[in-house]
Amino acid sequence: MATEVRNQIRKLRFERGELTQQQLADRVAATRQTINAIEAGHYAPSLELAFRIARALGKGIEDVFSYGDPA
């Protein structure tokens, strides 16, 4: 099941010195499997988790997440 929420987490992780999924998960108090599911587009995170991920990656939430087809 895919979600309409798109994300740039994978790209941004590598821009931040090849941050692993586990490291990102530890920073945002989630499991590695959840980060993997978000990256793969199988799970749309809550607003709170989305903000935490964006903050951990040093970006604003709209730089990390977008909704629907890219315009």
């Binding site: 099941m1 959840t34 599911a37």
Partner: protein
């Protein structure tokens, strides 16, 4: 595979094994009189012992898997929001199944009470608990077994939903 998914797999296997072991024996018993006999007490005691050993064995298997995958066996993964949502979905599906199963049991009680000709004609095969459940009359021990079957199916539904949600995404 996360620790919660592993726990779901092991719980599903243990519950399916114990459920099958129990109902394969009980449904084949000759009539509901056997459900109240001394043999049933011994069987129930054996079941409890098997369930305890299965619980210990499954915990050992989980810890061994965790050690082999390089994790600390004492560390318990915390539930995050996705785990909690998956648990909610699993509990909801199990609850829906339980309600349907209980409604089916109540309907069966009503049918066997007020429609003695309910169901297919009885064959010449020896009467078992399963046949008595289908044709009635339903006594207290038979109703208890039917409700236990409903609970077992709801529990299995919970673990299957969890595994499917973890595999296919939420």
């Amino acid at each position: 595979m996360s620790q919660h998914e592993r726990v779901s797999w092991v719980s599903l296997i243990v519950n399916a094994f114990i459920g099958y072991w129990y109902f394969a024996r009980v449904l084949g018993m000759p009539g509901d009189a056997a459900l109240l006999g001394p043999g049933m007490a011994v069987f129930a005691l054996n079941l409890i012992i098997v369930a305890i050993f299965a619980g210990i064995l499954s915990e050992l298997v989980l810890r061994l898997i965790q050690i082999r995958s390089g994790g600390d066996p004492r560390r318990r993964e915390k539930l995050d929001e996705r785990d909690r949502l998956i648990n909610l979905r699993a509990n909801r599906n199990a609850y829906v199944l339980l309600v349907i199963a209980v409604a089916a049991v109540l309907s069966l009680i009503a049918l066997t009470q007020w429609m003695p000709s309910w169901g297919v004609p009885r064959s010449a095969a020896p009467e078992t608990v399963l046949i008595r459940m289908a044709h009635g009359p339903l006594t207290g021990p038979l109703i208890a077994q039917l409700l236990l079957l409903a609970l077992t199916l709801a529990t299995l539904c919970k673990y299957v939903t969890r595994i499917v949600s973890y595999r296919r995404g939420y």
